[in-house]
């Protein structure tokens, strides 16, 4: 047998006994179902393949010019059984909604219905090319249009740009619509106002679109300070970006007054719709004077987060901004036919002021089919129930823990879809991070930490509407117990997590000496899978 560990890969060092696991170390580094897994480069060889493809004779004439790739690329291959095992083993090192409550505030980690996956894979959606003749894709265009009609109806707006690829892309789309509208009236404005509590994407988007960002102060109640905002508005302000419900989990009560003041100053209102889940079916942003709002289909409408995307970020627009929305989009004519409006026919559809194009093709079709299936399943009545249950669940967590954890805005009234706590009262040296890592040991993904920035040691808990009361009760028990340990200064919090596939990771080393790609050859031919072999 050839050297089994030529690449130098070492199985994980067996964890020590300092967290109550007695028993001898294992030679593999595995602990029963907790399995160590090498990199594909350490087990795959460049001669192995998991697909059956024909051998094309090298004598076949080539039209590649002088660009034939001669050198080895260095891509490892695995046979199908090895590949399935590699990725299945990796998957077991992930937390996921399918495993338990995932209370990441602002991220809306709700159940992802499997019907949506089935629908997205129907050949008429999955196996169509974006540039097929329009007559061969009318059903796909109808899906886009039907979803657009829902989004317009649920938000009370006038139009929607469907093509943005994710929330931040949608923000950019909305801000570009605003800039186009201002430019159309010859109004050069330079500033966008953003609350301190905003998602980082808001100021990043405004800066990317060429604006200077200024902060809006908040009141002691965690809401936009209307008077301060009014006094800052002026002819240099292009737009105000507001998240509603905001990142403290509160509804901006003065939204209508904010919008009126902003409009009176000749500016536009951008609403970050990341938290639309709390109000869908309960209130329409269009009724509050919003000019543009992106909707994260991967939040409110349950398309899977997928470990970091893909998302989808359609932007609903007010009448004033609709003329500037980007291409392409769909339009249903009186005869019921849904058309694709692109550069070619924009003028025929009276849309010659489009600010341009955000992306190749038509947007996240695979997310549209999933979101539409979700929306149709709930209907207008079910979506209202979604918002109510999401808000009920968050308030239940808030009022079940606010005697123990400080809820900075708790005394002023109910929260919306997420409950915000601070680290006030924790023992010295014990931090929000420590509490979060201890929750991992209890079998939970931690809440959003240190966000919003306006609350010290913030913990933002969003249970979502797809948790049962029993599930919430178990989580509350775990959270309360962990909070008590944090207040008592339990030293084992500092070393948590103890039972996860990895202990705390050294992020400083990762940033100081970045290793961002595997640097070495593929495994040599004949390498047995180390995970099968154990250590050398």
């Amino acid at each position: 047998m050839s050297t089994p560990n030529a690449s130098g890969w070492k199985p994980g060092t067996p964890a020590k006994d300092d967290h109550g696991m007695d028993g001898p170390p294992t030679v593999t580094g595995n602990r029963a179902l907790m399995l160590e897994e090498p990199l594909i480069f350490e087990i795959g060889t460049s001669q192995t393949t998991g697909v059956d493809l024909p051998d094309v004779p090298s004598s076949t004439s080539s039209r590649l010019g002088s660009f034939t790739r001669a050198d080895e690329i260095g891509l490892p291959g695995l046979s199908e059984p090895e590949a399935i095992r590699h990725y299945t083993r990796l998957s077991r090192q992930n937390y996921a909604i399918d495993l338990g409550l995932f209370p990441l505030g602002s991220c809306t980690m709700k159940h992802n219905p499997r019907l949506n996956e089935k629908v997205a894979r129907m050949p008429g959606f999955a196996d169509v090319h974006p540039l097929q003749p329009v007559d061969t894709v009318r059903g796909a265009l109808e899906v886009i249009n039907e979803l657009a009609v829902w989004l317009i109806g649920l938000t009370g707006m006038d139009g929607v740009a469907m093509s943005p690829k994710a929330g931040a892309h949608g923000e950019l789309c909305g801000i570009l619509c605003i800039r186009a509208a201002l430019e159309a009236r010859g109004d050069a404005r330079e500033v966008i106002l953003v609350p301190e509590s905003a998602h980082g994407t808001n100021p990043a988007t405004a800066a990317f679109a060429g604006y200077r960002v200024e902060n809006i102060p908040a009141t002691g109640e965690g809401r936009v300070d209307l008077e301060a905002l009014k006094s800052r508005l002026g002819p240099d302000v292009a737009a105000v970006m507001i998240t509603n419900p905001n990142t403290c989990g509160l509804f901006e009560r003065d939204m209508k007054a904010i919008s009126d003041a902003v409009h009176a100053a000749g500016a536009f209102v951008y609403c970050d719709g990341a938290n639309f889940n709390a109000i869908v079916g309960k209130v329409r942003p269009g009724d509050l004077g919003v000019d543009a709002m992106h909707i994260n289909l991967h939040k409110t409408f349950s398309t899977p987060h997928g470990g970091g995307g893909p998302g989808s970020g359609p932007v609903v627009l007010s009448e004033a901004l609709c003329p500037y929305g980007p291409l392409p989009f769909t339009a249903r004519t009186k005869d019921g036919v849904v058309h694709l409006v692109e550069e070619e026919n924009a003028e025929a559809f009276d849309h010659k002021h489009a600010f341009g194009r955000m992306t190749a093709f038509h947007g996240q079709m695979g997310m549209f089919t999933r979101a539409l299936a979700y929306i149709l399943s709930h209907g207008a009545d079910g979506l209202k129930q979604v918002a109510e249950d999401a808000v009920l669940n968050a308030n239940y967590v808030l009022r079940s823990c606010d005697d123990l954890l400080e809820a900075p805005f708790g005394p002023s009234g109910p929260c919306m879809h997420e409950a915000l706590f601070s680290d006030a009262g924790f023992a010295e040296d014990t931090t929000t991070l420590d509490l979060a890592k201890a929750l991992i040991d209890e079998g939970y993904h931690p809440m959003t930490m240190y966000f919003p920035l306006v609350v010290h040691g913030a913990m933002l808990v969003e249970p979502t509407e797809t948790e049962s009361k029993a599930s919430l009760d178990r989580f509350i028990m775990a959270l309360r117990s962990t909070a008590e340990r944090a207040k008592a200064g339990d030293p084992t919090l500092k070393t948590a997590p103890h039972y996860a596939p990895r202990r705390r990771l050294d992020e400083t080393q990762a940033a100081r000496k970045p290793v961002l790609a595997f640097d070495g050859p593929c495994a040599p031919a004949g390498t047995p899978q180390l995970s099968e072999q154990g250590g050398s």
Partner: protein, 453 residues
């Protein structure tokens, strides 16, 4: 409602615990005049799983699936066979329903996969470092242009005329707002890319030159020559690749001197899906440019017990830390598509990718030969990989429409891509992959011959 587990008894008990008389008491901050009392009028009420599935199936059946036609479309999206195990893996709940890996101790599955993905992409592109994905090829292309401006502190962008027109349009749209100056052109209908014309447009103010490889007409440009010219003027070369399978047969852009290599990864693992979600690939040849890159990066480190592990790193470039000073506003990217790409690439391996590329090229050569034998049809390309342009002497849009009636999706007409430019309208871009059978090719040849006769 099947997705909502609370019962009415639960709701009452919870309201009692909260101390609220009813659910509306929790919405007290929403102004009463704006609060909706019942379900929004004019929108349908809830529906069963069976009913929704039926509705969606009916919509789906109004589309012609590629598998049900002789299919030759490319131009930035390609139909390849995706092994069943790819779809199985991406539907594992631990991948599908996970979040961005902010808590690395319980996200090693996603993180290790991203590290492997970054390594695969870097090798394929001939680069030092690839990021953990962008939305798609077109937005990755714009991000590369924006990065070049940061690196070179210059704002004049030279676009090759043979860059995908949607990509060029995205760059033009964004540049309007960042005040980058865009010098574009139309593709020259000639057998080889117009390198001399492109090089002549590079000057001292140029931040970057953007070249598609292979280009929108399927030709393979000599990147080395362009890289040299760009570097001589202090500009970066951005290479755009829309067909990663090609890189199993032709030299990598990094090897030829491209500084930033971006592209569309959809061909490997992702599927057509009417244009999205797709997978933006982004890599840099020189590691010193890493800190100017947009998007997430996964890096290797150790845990408190010294075991290897992975984390998201160098996040001081990103919006959640740097806010208005971030390198990009991107947050959610295309994680699950990156997984699909990585699984498919692992199944292929070096050998499989090379075989796949060779088979694509073999069939494309066959199709090019048979099509150019039709009277009135001329092959434009001197070089190509799996996609080429034929000139057919008539407006190709009409011909494509006619052939659709015979269940032949003949390709992408240049009129569809460049509607405002009549001079290009006789061009048809034809893509051929391993999913194309020789029978399909013969069907296209016969149909086109009949139509042009």
């Amino acid at each position: 409602m099947r997705y909502l587990p609370l019962t009415d008894a639960d709701r009452s008990a919870m309201l009692a615990k909260i101390g609220a008389p009813n659910i509306d008491a929790l919405f007290v901050d929403v102004p009463e005049e704006a609060r909706l009392s019942g379900p929004i009028e004019g929108l349908p009420l809830h529906a069963s799983e069976m009913a929704v599935e039926k509705h969606m199936r009916q919509l789906s059946k109004k589309n012609l699936a590629a598998a049900d036609a002789a299919f030759f479309l490319g131009a930035g999206a390609y139909r390849h066979h995706v092994p069943a195990s790819v779809d199985h893996i991406i539907q594992r709940g631990e991948f599908l329903t996970a979040y961005t890996p902010y808590q690395p101790e319980i996200a090693q599955g996603t993180l290790q996969m991203l590290f492997e993905f970054q390594s695969q992409v870097a090798r394929l592109y001939g680069c030092a470092v690839a990021n953990a994905s962008m939305y798609d090829g077109s937005t990755a292309c714009w991000e590369a242009v924006a990065m070049a401006a940061r690196v070179t502190k210059k704002k004049r962008v030279v676009l090759s005329g043979a860059l995908h027109p949607h990509y060029a349009e995205v760059v033009r749209t964004m540049a309007k707002f960042t005040e980058d100056e865009i010098a574009g052109a139309l593709p020259a209908l000639q057998s080889t890319p117009d390198n001399a014309g492109l090089i002549a447009r590079i000057d001292d103010q140029t931040s970057c030159v953007v070249v598609q490889y292979p280009d929108i007409l399927g030709r393979i440009p000599d990147l080395g020559e362009i890289a040299e010219a760009a570097h001589a003027k202090g500009a970066l070369l951005i290479a755009v690749n829309t067909e990663p399978v090609a890189l199993g047969a032709i030299k990598s852009p990094g090897e030829l001197g491209a500084d930033i290599v971006v592209g569309e990864g959809q061909s490997i693992g992702v599927g057509l899906q009417f244009g999205g979600p797709y997978l933006g690939l982004f890599a840099v040849r020189d590691p010193k440019h890493v800190r100017q890159m947009p998007g997430r990066l996964c890096g290797e480190t150790v845990d408190a017990e010294g075991r290897r592990g992975f984390v998201l790193t160098l996040s001081t470039r990103e919006q959640h830390i740097r806010r208005e000073k971030a390198t990009s506003n991107i947050c959610t990217n295309s994680g699950l598509c990156a997984l699909a790409f990585s699984v498919h690439m692992t199944l292929l391996g070096e050998q499989g990718l090379r075989q796949l590329a060779a088979e694509n090229h073999r069939l494309a050569c066959l199709a090019a030969d048979r099509l150019s034998a039709i009277p009135g049809v001329e092959l434009l390309n001197e070089s190509f990989f799996n996609e080429f342009t034929i000139m057919i002497g008539r407006d190709a849009r009409e011909v494509v429409k006619k052939l659709t009636e015979q269940n032949v999706l003949a390709g992408v007409s240049l009129g569809r891509l460049y509607p405002a430019h009549d001079a290009l309208h006789e061009g048809l871009v034809v893509a051929v992959t391993e999913t194309t059978s020789e029978d399909d090719i013969d069907t296209l040849v016969a149909a086109l011959k009949g139509e042009l006769a």
